[in-house]
């Protein structure tokens, strides 16, 4: 059950949204301030700290070796997982990945994977025998909504730094030595909206997510592609609303890309 205070705040958010207004003064299609920081984790092959307003996410990349899947013997792979630390919000609990965490992780993963930004064949070490798997784990440190986009940017930043470790003659990773870097062919940017009181809001806060009827995320690339979509929460969208959000997502993606590609 939700507390009375939360219910009150939610109803306020809904009322304001009906008039196109937001609790923090933003316009409906306005994103919060994005700040990024990379390379803090000495043990990772790439790391990033992303803040979107008060939302803070940290991410890191570990490159491990593994046996390629039988049906793609000359490819490596990636794996992305999200964790909503109890640290980050009084509503979060310890335990095995919740459905919310699973969904966030999988949507962020697909947003990057399906864009074909990473050429998996370049992650092959020896066909059918050994390949690289890039593990990204990202953690909500302070959660004020839209972990989707903050996590997706953090994950992308990790891959952009992605160092490939050197292997010794027994295929063991030599700590601190690298043979090269991951190459990204595209920079897919995930952009998330919610519908509150019938109004589409970009980059929702935690309370806006609670107030939302429906959620929509789309990953866009610099060369005009969408790479993944996900509708979430128990409401609906009209096709026209989807089109509008896609339009806006391309615009947002451009801005974010400009910011992160400077690194």
């Amino acid at each position: 059950m939700r507390s009375t205070i939360l219910e009150y705040e939610i109803s306020k958010v809904v009322e304001m949204a009906k008039e196109g207004k937001r609790l923090d003064g933003r316009k409906a299609d306005e994103m919060r301030k994005l700040t990024i920081e990379t390379g803090f984790a000495g043990n990772a092959e790439g790391s990033a700290r992303v803040r979107l307003g008060e939302t803070e996410v940290v991410a890191g990349l570990k490159m491990l070796t593994g046996v390629p899947y039988p049906d793609s013997p000359n490819e490596g792979s990636i794996s992305i997982g999200a964790e909503l630390l109890p640290l980050a919000n009084p509503d979060y609990e310890s335990g095995p990945p919740s459905m919310v965490e699973v969904e966030i992780g999988r949507v962020v993963d697909r947003g990057i994977r399906e864009s074909k930004a990473i050429d998996f064949s370049k992650l092959c070490i020896r066909e059918g025998e050994l390949s690289w798997i890039g593990f990204i784990d990202f953690y909500a440190i302070n959660s004020d909504g839209n972990i989707f986009d903050a996590g997706a940017i953090a994950a992308l930043l990790c891959f952009m730094q992605g160092k490939i470790p050197k292997l010794d003659e027994k295929d063991k990773i030599i700590k601190g030595e690298f043979t090269g870097k991951l190459e990204l062919k595209r920079l897919p940017i995930l952009t998330t909206f919610v519908k509150v009181g019938g109004t589409i809001l970009l980059d929702p806060t935690y309370i806006e997510e609670k107030a939302a009827e429906a959620r929509f995320s789309v990953s866009t690339t610099e060369d005009g592609f969408m790479a993944a979509m996900q509708k979430g929460i128990g409401g609906s969208f009209k096709a026209g609303e989807i089109d509008e959000m896609i339009e806006k997502a391309f615009e947002v993606g451009k801005g974010v890309r400009a910011k992160i590609s400077k690194l």
């Binding site: 059950m1 793609s72 990945p97 979509m229 979430g232």
Partner: protein, 285 residues
């Protein structure tokens, strides 16, 4: 992944699909309603090679109590695949894909039901895939929505769903496994309320331009409407409305029949809730 050594098809050129279908053609779809006597509502769907069961239990008191919502029923769908329903044996433990699909199905179904009428309850939906070949989640959503109607739960509309997307250079409806594995494959599971075209399920994987997207969504909605007709017929069959002609106002007749079924079940449902409230927790099998 198309097999090595074989030539990759080009649908634009070939004008027909690997299984002989037209670009906008569904695989054979059949629906049976009320197949599981123990359930409040149930359906069995065969769609191409996919075979799925769906049952609805409830509305029943949501337990443990902290899961109750005082404003509405919680719709909780659980998607599972039988170990033998996939080419490699599936580990019985639910994986991340199972969990995500359970989540999006729950959320899609919620919109179709008047959840406000049953505060503090749970409507439990279980879908079990016993054979599969691309598109099992939309088959499950189609089955679950029909089972929901069979349970007599007051609904805003049925949910009609289909896969749609792109493969081998063409926008196509209802991808099969070979198409899903095409090099340029884009898979879009789509579910709508067919009377209002509201989108309740939407996912997409693969690269698509805005122009392609417009074609995809249009074709998908068209496909959903075909599915809708089959769903309505299945429900009619169950409720023995064989005499109502499909062409004129079948929808209304169905609504009417559903009304009746609904009322009966609703009362049964309420009784059920009362009964359950007496227990602290249901007896573990």
């Amino acid at each position: 992944m198309s097999k090595k050594g074989e030539e990759i098809p080009d649908y634009k050129k070939d004008k027909k699909r690997v299984d002989g279908r037209k670009m906008d053609e569904l695989r054979p779809l059949s629906i049976k309603v009320g197949v599981i006597p123990n359930a409040n509502g149930s359906a069995y769907v065969e769609w191409g090679q996919n075979k799925v069961y769906a049952t609805v239990y409830g509305p029943r008191e949501a337990l443990p109590k902290h899961t109750q919502n005082p404003f509405k029923a919680v719709v909780k769908a659980t998607y599972r695949m039988a170990a033998f329903s996939v080419p490699d044996r599936k580990n019985p433990r639910p994986n991340r894909r199972d969990q995500e699909i359970s989540k999006v199905l729950s959320e899609a179904l919620e919109k179709s039901v008047f959840v406000e009428q049953f505060p503090n309850t749970e409507i439990s939906v279980f879908v079990e895939v016993i054979d599969s070949n691309a598109g099992s989640r939309v088959a499950c959503l189609v089955a679950a929505s029909v089972a929901m109607a069979d349970a007599g739960i007051p609904m805003r509309d049925l949910i009609s769903a289909t896969g749609v997307g792109k493969a081998f250079n063409e926008i196509i409806l209802d991808l099969n496994k070979e198409e899903e594995d095409a090099p340029d494959a884009v898979d879009v599971p789509l579910g709508i309320l067919p009377n209002s075209d509201e989108i309740v399920l939407l996912q997409m994987d693969g690269l698509l331009t805005k122009e392609e997207w417009k074609k995809v969504i249009a074709l998908g909605i068209k496909g959903c409407k075909q599915v809708y007709e089959i769903q309505k017929n299945a429900l009619k069959e169950k409720f023995e409305l064989g005499n109502v002609s499909e062409s004129d106002d079948s929808g209304n007749a169905l609504e009417k029949k559903k009304e009746t079924g609904k009322k009966m079940k609703e009362e049964k449902g309420k009784e059920k809730i009362k009964e359950r409230s007496e227990k602290e927790k249901k007896v573990k099998k």
